[in-house]
Symmetry: C3
Subunit: 179 residues, 3 copies
């Protein structure tokens, strides 16, 4: 069996409990490359701690680095050929920035720059959060706007964008044929 062509930047979008993380993990695992998991989750509460532990238990054979905020720096340092990086997920990263009072625009530009400069495949998981009714509170509306813009920016430079629902992939953008 030959390794599937995981190349460049891949964005995996999905809803909550859609199977998006597992799908992204399988993409990376199919490469046979060295696997790096970049965890953006911060265990603020027990609910999140349980979720982090569940995800971690699935990832034997992966190295994990935490990047609750400094995602661009991690990508610059760690990216390389024969190494596939999974960033899980952009939604928590964005949430960490906003909770810390950081205006995300500059951080987003830094991330995009690091993705353009990546020397090996990078898979990013992100939530699609805009398909519900307008949230009551302004903070949730602002988050939804930031998340939507971030997803658009990453999707525009990505080689592949896939929406996951009920564990099943729906490709929104596919890489050009390899040269």
């Amino acid at each position: 069996m030959t390794a599937p062509a995981l190349r460049g930047v891949t964005l995996i979008l999905g809803g909550a409990r859609s199977g998006k993380s597992r799908f992204a993990e399988e993409l990376v695992e199919a490469t046979g490359f060295d696997r790096l998991y970049v965890a953006t989750a911060a265990a603020y509460d027990e609910e999140m701690a349980v979720r982090i532990a569940e995800h971690k238990a699935r990832r034997a054979g992966w190295r994990t680095v935490e990047a609750q905020r400094g995602l661009a720096a991690v990508l610059r340092t760690e990216s390389g050929p024969e190494r596939a990086i999974l960033v899980d997920c952009l939604t928590l990263w964005l949430s960490n920035l906003l909770l810390a009072g950081v205006e995300p625009a500059g951080e987003v530009e830094g991330l995009l720059e690091a993705l353009r400069a990546a020397r090996g495949p990078v898979v990013l998981v992100s939530n699609e959060v805009g398909f519900g009714i307008v949230p009551d509170n302004a903070l949730a509306r602002a988050f939804r706007d930031h998340q939507g813009r971030l997803n658009q920016r990453v999707a525009a430079l990505a080689d592949r964008v896939t929406l996951v629902a009920a564990g099943l992939p729906l490709d929104l953008k596919l890489p050009k044929e390899p040269q």
Copy 2:
């Protein structure tokens, strides 16, 4: 006109008022089989009573059984060749379980077992609820998690999975060619 090949298990996912129930009904009606509607709705309030009545008015020529919780038992009893079963919907079934204080894991396993053993086509309608902003209250978050996991489990064993938006189908998984 030959009957379309509705075979095995079909999962119809969709948002609120997406036309998912009507789409599922049309799949069953196109078979020419004996039609059984398994209603999971409980008329807790007037809003729901109105909705149930609307759905019912569309279904002349169907037999209806109510299964607010015991879905696996109904499928075991009723499933048969020349009979198409429509379960509408898994979201209300899950909601009924949680409102009754039942931990859904065991019930879900029972449902999956009954689906695997079905002797005729079964179409299940379910809501995709994970594409919005994280809900404020813990119960809604827990429901969203249970619903997402349930959809993934049913999708994994289903022969066909279709997402309905604005009344239009988008196939996520299609059955293998018939033997």
Copy 3:
């Protein structure tokens, strides 16, 4: 470069900040037709005023008419060959009706009638709002129901229906080949 075949009625569905308006604008701009932007937004508050100004700044070379409610009349008056009309968006139009205490059923019939009678291409942008958890308040649930039904009605008569996520289109319905 030949103008793409933007014909009849096109419905662009998407979530918040999905890039749906921009995608719709690009469809119209690719025609080379006279461009009319029908703005349904009402600047109730500063948040909305900022958003309206951002959208407007993108649309050099467009004529704009406001139609916070009387959408059918605008379409009847303005539609013509060599003119492409963009209605942005049905969600705010529906919201304006409900806030004004107007039962939308009659207005929706009027809109559908005007779309059937249109003498040139019309692109309508609308939100998909039903993929989240059931909203707590009855008004939001009612809005979600109205929006879902409206999207289904417009989709049923549209020649093309496209869902936009992260700026990327996913076609749900495509026009038949031109005669």
